[in-house]
């Protein structure tokens, strides 16, 4: 699989938190060829792919990425045909007014919409960011009855944004948080499966749901899988001009960011760093004084505790429809997981 192609496929499928069926099905298809057991999709829409079950006494490595994306959910239909909506996850309200969206309602194809707003006027030129409970979506019908035939409360809404290539190996689009992480785990899974006979540990891939609303899916699936070691893959902040370069040191194209945080295993993180250096994989570090804000927080405290590491793909403009990542970072993240899987049980390359 090619990283760019994979990211293009994954970002265009809908999967707003709590309604991940479509992306879940697609990912299950994508990992079927390298799963040793049938790929499992549970009631949370988590996707579980066993590449090699652990043998007695062997360590069991979990590679995880969340598959959900932020968006909106329809809460009700107003008398003038507008959809009242609530955010699913940390939607950036500042840039929502007059932005194009897709409503995944009753028709086979999504219903195009625009996030409604009133233009500033002479007497009130200010443009306050809409409050979370005051957001509406306009789908171009003034009849409530007509709108009811297309959309129902609970339907999810995504940004209407295609994924496009920028200069070099960079791409932009919606849901790169965290479909780029999913792509990295899929790429790693494919490579690991190709040489599974030489592994000395179990390897399971997990694509977890509802991370954006609190790691709901992964918590349960990881409990079920019961790994001894885990690496979570997510995106993290790459500094932009408006962020402190001293505090946010992540850079696009400089490789995966290896996380250090109280809940993460310092041994595992150090090991990843050493391995990256040994194998000429570029990498950077990300230091977090408390929680990581990713599924790693949930995985580390499953059952009696799991030695957990976090690899973050540097990203600009997180939680906007124009997130930017470097696909080379995705490839390098996958490589690092491959090397780790080999080393974990003392396997030989």
């Amino acid at each position: 699989m090619d990283a760019v192609e994979l990211i293009d496929i994954l970002t265009q499928i809908r999967g707003v938190s709590g309604e991940e069926t479509a992306v879940s099905e697609r990912i299950a298809q994508l990992c079927a060829p390298f799963s040793e057991q049938p790929v499992r999709t549970d009631h949370f829409h988590n996707v579980i792919c066993t590449i090699r079950p652990p043998k007695e006494g062997e360590p069991h490595l979990l590679l995880e990425a969340h598959l959900d994306e932020i968006g909106f959910m329809v809460s009700s239909i107003a008398d003038d045909g507008l959809l009242r909506v609530v955010p699913c996850g940390g939607v950036d309200r500042r840039l929502q007014p007059a932005s194009p969206v897709l409503v995944w309602g009753k028709p086979q194809t999504p219903v195009p919409g625009v996030v409604g707003y009133l233009p500033p006027s002479l007497d009130d030129p200010q443009h306050p960011t809409p409050k979370a409970d005051e957001m509406v979506v306009d789908i171009g019908y003034s009849s409530k009855e007509k709108v009811k035939t297309l959309v129902s409360p609970g339907d999810r809404i995504t940004a209407d944004m295609e994924t496009i290539r920028l200069q070099g190996t960079r791409v932009t689009g919606k849901a790169l948080d965290n479909r780029s992480g999913c792509a990295a785990v899929l790429l790693a899974g494919e490579m690991i499966a190709a040489c599974r006979d030489r592994l000395r540990c179990g390897v399971t891939l997990l694509f977890g749901s509802m991370e954006e609303v609190g790691s709901v899916g992964t918590r349960s699936a990881a409990y079920d899988i019961s790994p001894t070691h885990a690496i979570a893959v997510d995106v993290s902040f790459s500094a932009t001009h408006d962020m402190s370069p001293q505090k946010y040191t992540g850079k696009l194209g400089d490789g995966p960011m290896i996380g250090y945080s109280p809940v993460l295993s310092k041994d595992l993180s150090r090991y990843l760093e050493k391995q990256a250096r040994k194998n000429s994989i570029p990498c950077q570090t990300e230091i977090m004084g408390g929680r990581t804000g990713t599924d790693a927080d949930a995985i580390a405290i499953i059952r009696g505790g799991v030695k957990t590491g976090l690899l973050s793909i540097p990203q600009r403009y997180m939680h906007t429809p124009v997130e930017v990542i470097d696909t080379e970072d995705v490839r390098q993240t996958a490589m690092l997981m491959l090397f780790y899987a080999y080393d974990l049980g003392g396997g030989v390359l």
Partner: protein, 346 residues
């Protein structure tokens, strides 16, 4: 080609103020036979169409070709981001989170306008978009030199996208504010007219109507009919403004713009005409901003102006919405307007 198709075709062109070449080319290719056309110094497209009679003095119809956009200033050495200035009337709060094209020659280079994630906002920072001067276009370049090879100061940039059908006979997308009027005017030129007219597709309306000022001077019209989009704030659930033009309620007859009042007789006669023709119209008595109407009114010795508007939701944003019902009604109204204006002038 239907009106909707014409609009989609014209909105596919990028044309910020002073860079209207591509729009002009597309309009020219859609002009019917039997018109004489010329492009003037600033780039206005002037089209003369013969009617049954010559009016006592020229009748001018206009629509502007340019869309509000951005213009490249320089490349930031630290981030390789492209700094830009605004070129035209955009809601400056709505720039971030959008995809853009930078025009370098005939090539469109994709980029995005990003913003610091909400996760890293300090609690003291305002929860609002950043001002335009603090934003960059990110082309994905690693180094300043890479970006400088692609773009040059002065290059135009515009919001990327397309216009597509939307909702109940509506259209949604980029540059609708300017191009829908051009498409309606093209429709008028396809019909047999009672009087000769000069249709002008103007440039640089968004930056002060340089196009209309010079076009009106050349045509010296007895009356000018200016087609413009007018902002609509008609969403009831959000507390619609009472006097706002509403989508699907017909073309807008403007009594005034911010700095001037239009010709009363043309207004009243047009209102009567719409009633006769059973075409619903709305009246606008308050306006925010000025455009080609005032420019036509005050060029040379001055002229009488009738402004016909198209209600436009999310006007001045990269994602406007207009109703085909309004656009069809405007197209239908224009033919009798030619006769009405010609009769008044004779």
């Amino acid at each position: 080609m239907t009106l909707s198709e014409r609009i989609q075709e014209l909105c596919g062109a990028v044309g910020t103020p002073g860079n209207e070449v591509e729009v002009r080319r597309r309009i020219s290719s859609l002009l019917p036979d039997g018109c004489t056309r010329r492009v003037d110094t600033l780039g206005n497209l002037l089209v003369e169409k013969k009617g049954a009679k010559a009016p006592a003095s020229p009748i001018l119809f206009s629509a502007h070709m340019d869309e509000p956009g951005l213009i490249v200033e320089n490349v930031d050495p630290l981030t390789a981001g492209v700094r830009f200035a605004l070129s035209g009337n955009l809601d400056t709060h709505l720039l971030s989170g959008r995809k853009v094209w930078v025009l370098s020659g005939t090539e469109r280079i994709p980029g995005v306008i990003g913003i610091k994630p909400i996760h890293v906002l300090r609690s003291t920072e305002p929860d609002e978009p950043m001002p335009a001067e603090d934003l960059f276009i990110d082309l994905g370049c690693m180094k300043k030199e890479d970006a400088e090879k692609l773009v040059h100061p002065g290059d135009a940039a515009a919001f990327a996208g397309a216009v597509t059908p939307f909702g109940h006979r509506m259209l949604r997308g980029r540059a609708l504010d300017s191009r829908s009027a051009c498409a309606v005017l093209l429709g008028l030129l396809e019909q047999d007219l009672p009087y000769d007219i000069t249709a002008v597709f103007t440039v640089q309306r968004e930056t002060g109507s340089a196009g209309m000022k010079t076009a009106a001077f050349q045509v010296q019209p007895g009356a000018a009919v200016v087609l413009e989009s007018v902002p609509s704030a008609d969403l009831a659930s959000l507390g619609a403004k009472k006097d706002s033009p509403k989508l699907e309620e017909g073309p807008v007859l403007s009594l005034r713009e911010q700095k001037s009042f239009y010709d009363r007789e043309l207004f009243v006669r047009c209102q009567e005409l719409a009633e006769q023709e059973k075409i619903p119209v709305q009246i606008r008595s308050a306006a925010f901003g000025t455009g080609d109407g005032l420019a036509a009114q005050t060029a040379g010795r001055g002229t009488r102006v009738l402004e016909l508007g198209i209600p436009s939701r999310y006007s001045r944003t990269p994602c406007c919405v207009q109703s085909l019902k309004d656009l069809d009604a405007l197209e239908k109204l224009l033919l009798p307007v030619v006769g009405m204006v010609g009769d008044i002038l004779s």
